[in-house]
């Protein structure tokens, strides 16, 4: 570690303070609560000194200085509120406003505009100019990015965030001086990753979002911070919701709250792909198949039918004739409840989910080697990062952002081993291209098998490159090792064994929002929650007060095989589409009684006998575990009448089957309870009152649909999950460590791991129903402008 920089003494507005040498004056002022206004300064981006709003008076300097580019120096005496400074700020604002159209009533930024705030704070509301303001028509740069040139104040934040932050370099500046214009990379449109960071970072309304344009105003919405439902990175996204005919409509997503693990970042999916919630094709009432056609039914009818059939099958054909398939997008509580439902209510271990990474092997490797997992925050801090396989730019945009910015801001070392020339190689210290599918052999080589090197060499990698890389890696302490689904089973073990002695931390990349959670919660036919084998079932039986079935269950493919052979009589699919993901034959589902809980008519749902419309992540509360193991809490934002959360549906079916709900959901027990997360934005006074009661433990009962009670149980049972719940409730992330898991075991099916192969613009089933994502892809395919809304 380098020595901490020397502290220097400065005086700001008569206040004496110290700051580390090299700190920018604007940051030093912020530390002691003195605000120096600025447009162009943005922490983490290069310095610009363009807007001149941060001019301050420094003693012994002849002219006003920009606080955003001046490092503090010993004995500096600064005045940020002198007459001269106040006057210059006012003059700067007047110049900015000279050509700024005063269309605040229609501007999307109105109400959350930095220029509005500055004008209110520092004056200059009256213009001395009589000339007509220059006007240019608004331009559409992409389905999701609109540019209104007169509103632009030329702070260049968008240019810098696009280039430095995203490494896309799609925005630039044309002309010079007063004639400067922000311009897209392809004449009149953008060709980029469509992340929308430029829109978010724009201090005014010059760049606006295609999906949110003219819909509403910031103060009209309720803002609910929750976790993104798309990839496994676990970005915090702020969902803006408004009352609508059908409950609470989601109007936009952005990252107003910069406190999440994603900081400033949000990708195209997190920002725009929420619109599937309001898709016309969304199923909003229970459907029962009669004579080959789906007929709308009431919830009572549907749940009674499902419960009766399940009961019949269990009684007539035994519990082994029922299979349950869980989801990568439901919350931890729902996954946990589902496996409990399968094991206790149905009495079978036939439970599985779509696996996108070999997490059981990872858990075993970590706990055996006493190694640690890395959180998403570690990726930004680590002195060195090794990436094997995967393409984070496409599949894990936040991870790519963290790596890029770690390299840019901390000069960390970054090693890539990949079969493709992925975009992140531009940040790499060393990039070694290996043949497709050779990742496992590379790990073999790392572990000391020099013979493996021979099969790895090709154009991009010579023997020398490879040994150089191995030597470099051996010399790295506190390395973060990230690998994709290319590595499975024993290879993961070998890799962890190789890097663990150097105090390395590991990340295993799964594809969906809660892929890791689904694995942690034990959606496996041969593993209990926390990757425990049935040999360790005693703990669980004690907690649950019931016996865990001893027989190892069928995995997903075996279930479909059993259905074909007529052995499987009922199948319960929750938020999953195995027919499409595993390319299975949907016709085998004709014989068994199939219940599908989903939002859309998927390939699997078509084959169902009953479809139950489910709420998705933004419409319920619970927790998600990101692929790194960062646990975060979801809050209910949107609301659609007539759909129910998966949690509630499972509890209702169990209840109708005659099972004691208290045994399934430990409600009424424990100290913690729902603090309002599941009630949504428009909860009202009555709910706030009950939150108060609950917070003080005065409320006599909590609801059986309260996922927080189940979180209590999860925290008691799964090692590593016992993190501060107060921190979770207040919207922070908590890292769960797999190392605490004892006797983890590997189910022997690495072949069941099927990566989703989503790109930046696809997101499984949800992505298919997102108009914005489709329009972005259409735009890229056809080159024609497509409106997003």
């Amino acid at each position: 570690m380098a020595d901490a920089p020397k502290l220097v003494n400065i005086t700001v507005n008569g206040k004496k303070t110290t700051a580390p040498a090299g700190t920018l004056l604007i940051e030093a002022c912020k530390q002691i609560g003195i605000e120096v206004p600025s447009f162009c300064y943005y922490p983490g981006l290069s310095l610009q000194g363009a807007c001149r709003m941060c001019l301050v008076e420094i003693e012994k300097m002849p002219k006003l200085q920009t606080a955003c580019t001046t490092p503090v120096a010993e004995g500096m005496v600064v005045n940020t509120e002198s007459e001269k400074v106040v006057q210059s700020r006012k003059a700067m604002l007047e110049i900015v406003l000279a050509n700024h159209p005063l269309d605040c009533p229609v501007c999307d930024a109105g109400g959350e505009c930095e220029l509005q705030d500055m004008t209110y704070t520092y004056g200059a509301a009256e213009s001395k100019f009589i000339d007509i303001k220059s006007h240019r028509d608004e331009q559409q740069w992409s389905p999701v990015v609109f540019f209104d040139r007169p509103r632009c104040i030329l702070c260049y934040r968008c240019v810098r965030v696009c280039g430095e932050g995203m490494d896309v370099w799609a925005l630039g500046v044309q002309n010079r001086g007063q004639g400067s214009v922000i311009a897209p990379n392809k004449q009149d449109h953008l060709e980029c990753e469509e992340c929308g960071m430029c829109i978010d970072i724009c201090p005014v309304g010059a760049l606006t979002s295609g999906s949110y344009r003219y819909k509403t105003r910031p103060w009209e919405m309720n803002h609910v911070g929750t976790v993104c439902t798309h990839c496994g990175d676990g970005c915090l996204t702020t969902v803006g919701v408004r009352r609508s005919d059908t409950g609470m409509e989601i109007v936009r997503c952005d990252n107003r709250d910069k406190s999440g693990i994603n900081g400033d970042f949000l990708c195209v999916k997190g920002r725009y792909a929420f619109d599937f919630a309001a898709n016309q094709e969304r199923i909003t009432q229970p459907l029962i198949k009669r004579d080959g056609k789906f007929v709308p039914a009431t919830w009572t009818q549907a749940i009674e039918l499902v419960a009766d059939k399940f009961k019949q099958v269990v009684q007539k054909d035994g519990p082994q004739a029922i299979g349950v398939i869980g989801s990568n997008r439901t919350t931890n509580e729902e996954n946990y409840l589902l496996q409990k439902f399968a094991r206790l209510v149905l009495g079978t271990n036939n439970i599985d989910h779509h696996r996108t990474a070999d997490f059981p092997a990872f858990a075993k490797a970590i706990s055996e080697n006493k190694a640690r997992t890395a959180s998403m925050r570690d990726v930004f801090e680590a002195p060195a990062v090794l990436l094997i396989g995967n393409d984070p730019t496409e599949q894990h945009p936040l991870l790519a952002w963290q790596i890029r910015n770690n390299v840019r801001l901390h000069r960390s070392k970054f090693y890539i081993v990949n079969s493709q020339a992925i975009k992140l190689r531009r940040q790499a210290t060393q990039f070694v291209q290996i043949p497709t599918g050779a990742e496992a052999r590379f790990v073999d080589f790392l572990s000391g098998n020099d013979a493996a090197a021979g099969t790895l060499t090709q154009a991009g990698a010579s023997n020398e490159n490879l040994s150089q890389l191995r030597d470099a890696l051996k010399g790295e302490q506190n390395l973060v090792v990230i690998f994709g689904s290319e590595l499975r089973g024993a290879d993961i073990s070998a890799l962890v064994k190789f890097a663990a002695p150097q105090n390395a931390k590991f990340i295993c990349l799964g594809d969906y929002a809660n892929s890791r959670g689904a694995a942690d919660m034990g959606l496996f036919p041969d593993l209990l929650p926390g990757y425990a084998t049935f040999a360790g079932a005693a703990r669980y039986q004690q907690e649950w007060g019931a016996d865990v079935p001893a027989l190892v269950g069928m995995d997903l493919k075996q279930m479909f095989g059993a259905a074909r052979d007529g052995k499987l009589k009922a199948l319960y699919v929750v938020g999953s589409n195995p027919v499409s993901r595993y390319a299975l034959d949907p016709f085998v589902l004709q014989a068994p009684f199939v219940v599908v809980q989903d939002m859309f008519m998927t390939e699997t749902a078509i084959a169902a006998d009953v479809i139950l419309p489910a709420a998705f992540a933004y419409e319920k509360s619970g927790t998600f575990t990101s692929t790194c193991g960062d646990l975060q809490m979801l809050r209910k934002a949107g609301d659609v009448v007539s759909v129910k959360s998966d949690f509630e549906i499972v509890v209702r079916i169990a209840e109708k089957m005659g099972y004691d709900v208290r045994k399934l959901v430990p409600f009424g027990k424990g100290l913690r309870a729902d603090m309002g997360q599941s009630r949504g934005a428009q909860s009202g006074e009555a709910d706030r009152h009950s939150v108060w009661l609950q917070a003080r433990g005065l409320e006599p009962k909590v609801s059986p649909f309260d996922p927080l009670a189940t979180l209590d149980e999860i925290q008691r049972l799964i090692p590593g999950y016992d993190v501060s719940q107060i921190n979770l409730v207040s919207g922070n992330d908590e890292h769960t460590q797999l190392v605490q898991i004892q006797n983890a075991s590997i189910p022997s099916h690495p072949e069941l791991v099927v990566p989703s192969n989503d790109t930046l613009f696809t997101s499984g089933t949800l992505g298919r129903y997102s108009t914005v994502l489709n329009s972005v892809m259409e735009r890229r395919a056809t080159g024609k402008e497509v409106a997003a809304d």
Partner: protein, 172 residues
């Protein structure tokens, strides 16, 4: 003396009564008077039912900025915004109010909405006959609140431009 005092008191009172008989009447003849207001007379400043104004081209002045809804202390204004298009131009700016409801169950006629309006779109009219036997009738929709199209729109060639003529003007 007490007797005289009583008489003078009655005389004083009656003098006011008789005096009033010869003054012109100031009672409004509502609801039997003439005109659309049926005899009701208002000060200009009277704050009655709102009117959503149009500009000189007949376009709505409201740009759906939601400031009236934000200013409203009784939270009685509900707006849904939408974007103007070339084919469907409702207001002068980029955005217009697709839905504009005022709930007169809640409105307290304070006039804050009128003060807040940046485009002078919402004004207080003199409508006051809002009583109804059914409270749901008191939610007024935009169509009920809008001012009429100015009389000159559509009256002559200047104010009656057809789409074809407009295209011709642009291409010239």
């Amino acid at each position: 003396m007490g007797f005289l005092k009583n008489v003078s008191a009655i005389a004083k009172g009656m003098s006011i009564t008789f005096g009033e008989m010869f003054k012109p009447t100031i009672v409004e003849n509502y609801p039997d008077g003439p005109g659309p207001l049926r005899g009701a007379v208002f000060q200009e400043r009277f704050r009655g039912m709102h009117v959503l104004q149009r500009d000189e081209n007949g376009l709505e002045k409201c740009v759906a900025c939601f400031l009236c809804a934000a200013a409203c202390p009784s939270n009685c204004i509900y707006i849904e915004a939408a974007e103007n298009t070339e084919e469907n131009r409702i207001s002068g700016a980029e955005r217009y109010a697709k839905v504009y409801n005022i709930d007169y169950n809640r409105c307290i006629f304070c006039g804050y909405c009128v003060e807040a309006c940046p485009t002078d779109a919402i004004t207080h009219g003199h409508g006051f006959e809002l009583a109804t036997l059914n409270a749901t009738n008191l939610v007024y929709r935009k169509e009920q609140l809008l001012a009429g199209v100015p009389a000159h729109v559509g009256q002559n060639v200047v104010f009656n431009i057809t789409e074809a003529a407009k295209q011709k003007m642009i291409t010239k």
